[in-house]
């Protein structure tokens, strides 16, 4: 079980800020594939991964990173702080 969080326009496309996801995905890419096939809104949100960033347990990570031991995954667009 993973806590999956969405921010900014990813959150708007998915339609909710967070959800619990039952998955055996080994990597972030695997998780994205799983979500994409679920519902149209995921397919839309995850259409272009180059426009997305991912954090694992609140640390920036790559899409090929392993999900082993991870409890929280967050998807969001490139950050615009400052």
């Amino acid at each position: 079980m993973l806590d999956v969080m969405y921010f900014a326009w990813v959150r708007e496309r998915i339609g909710e800020p967070r959800e619990r996801v039952e998955t055996r995905a080994a990597t972030v890419n695997d998780l994205v594939e799983e979500l994409r096939t679920r519902e149209e809104r995921y397919a839309v949100a995850f259409q272009d991964l180059s426009a997305l960033r991912v954090a694992l347990d609140q640390e920036l990570a790559d899409f090929d990173a392993s999900l082993e031991g991870v409890r929280e995954v967050a998807f969001f667009p490139p950050m615009t702080g400052g």
Binding site: M5, F7, A8, W9, R11, A55, Q58, E59, L60, E72, A74, F76, P77, P78, M79, T80, G81, G82
Partner: protein, 147 residues
Amino acid sequence: MTVRVQTEDFDLSAELADFAKGRTDVGARVSFTGVVRDVEGGLDRMEIEHYPGMTQKAIAAMVEQATLRWELADCLVIHRHGPLRPGDQIMMVATAAPHRVAAFESAEFLMDYLKSRAPFWKKEFGADGSCWVDAKDEDEDALSRWE
């Protein structure tokens, strides 16, 4: 070293009034303040979303990096989230160091990382509707200076 993430405004004057004051090993203090701009005159407000669990930690890690890289006497970062109007203060960075180069460079380093690596997202609301502010290539490029 202080990091604050908050919705409330901050008083730059009050923050700087006591910042690293009275220390005789500090020759240079630099501050940066980011303000909401209304370039085309149509901006009603901006809303800044953030990732509560990650924001404070991410900024603290940047401050930690800065203290490893430069000889800093003190460092302060305040970043707001929530709704903001044109002219409102968004955030501030202050650095204090023995020498001016360290004070300037560390403040720029923190700004460059805050821009592209702190989990904030800006949405602008105007007469024509709303839109998320895109990250700029030049902001991403600015990071290469520190690698």
